[in-house]
Symmetry: C2
Subunit: 230 residues, 2 copies
Amino acid sequence: MSEPVGNDGAVVYRERWEVVTEEIRRRIVTGEMLPGSRIRETELAEGFGVSRGPVREALRILEVAGLVLRVPRHGSYVAPVRRRDVDELYTLRASIEELAVRRALRRADAGLAAQLGRAVERLEMALTTEAPFEVVESDIDFHSTFYRHADHDRLVAVWATLADPLRILMRLSSRRSDPDWSTTVGGHLLIASAAREGDEDACVEATLDHLEHARSLVLSFVEQQEIPER
Amino acid sequence: MSEPVGNDGAVVYRERWEVVTEEIRRRIVTGEMLPGSRIRETELAEGFGVSRGPVREALRILEVAGLVLRVPRHGSYVAPVRRRDVDELYTLRASIEELAVRRALRRADAGLAAQLGRAVERLEMALTTEAPFEVVESDIDFHSTFYRHADHDRLVAVWATLADPLRILMRLSSRRSDPDWSTTVGGHLLIASAAREGDEDACVEATLDHLEHARSLVLSFVEQQEIPER
DNA sequence: GAGAATTTGTTCGTATGTATC
DNA sequence: TGATACATACGAACAAATTCT
């Protein structure tokens, strides 16, 4: 586990449960722990070198976040991804991302266009080097830009709960085939262009088109993964 | 604490942390524990007759749900309601409720109109008997009907995280003055009418108008409540 | 500013319920 | 069906940090 020293030099006590939560989340999101697989408190606790207390608290948090499925008196599982989730994630995301885009453009922050541009470049770079993790993170980062500029804490919080399952989905589908990333990049360019010109409606329309494309792309590659019975 | 016997007669073990979570949530939502007030683990644990373990897990859950504010190595507080929250809650709610209304109407379930009608009657009844708790619950219940019929688990989950703070807001503002409930009832009638006729766009428009009215109503009565420093 | 009191963070032992043979 | 192994749920004591006097 890491030491209690922050990146700004100041001493920052990161509680055990916090470190444990982040690490389990990382393992789930990166696919190190696969959807549907069993999670044992004692096993994790021993692996981390901590007691079961912090692990329990971490699992509670991740359960509320939707990444962990918990069966009372039985155990925990990495939340399985169902076909239904693809529909839910993308419809809900379209709904809140429209709000994010509109609010971000209305604030007319100069940093928005610049950050969008950098995010597109980052994605293009990741595609040339064929780094799967970077590709997914770049894609997520592009869209996160709007949420960051929306000045809306709860909106960011909801986005965060959607972003993790989306990372898992994108990783699963890109592993199974070779998605059409050029269309994705094109979509991002279109969105960024509309954002640069401050055209709110055009930016929303481009975003919704882009999301619909992404949805159908992911949907065609996701296999049904059953929930462990009981 | 309650006994492990479910209402269907079967034995249902409700874990301590579950009961504790529900009870703390109830106290916060009903205003029994006021926003900004300190929460002491030991105090709650003794009051419930349990150890601090289940209480800690409950507080973690409620923290993720946004009802509890937690300061590391210091303590927990009932999440304070800020002016900013009113804007965030109602803009985000408008966004997802449009999705809920559209999906509910597209499914064209016969039960929808009937349940909306009953919810309106329940609100009218609550207003005549002047039962504050019932009034708030009836209002929330009316809107929940769309979410229940939207066939969208994540949408319901997000709504649930908004509904609790909204209950607190409505309670605070109705305590401070005498809101114009007749307009609220009128709004519900308009929405229910459009839903009965299956007019999706009209129903969405009526809903958004209604929410804007509710927002301005609440906003005018909410006082600034500061976050505890540090 | 030092020390006591308070409160949270953590560990570990035990109880209880579940699954399996 | 019954016994056994296993994992989680809970309680109580200890450790560490913050606040207050």
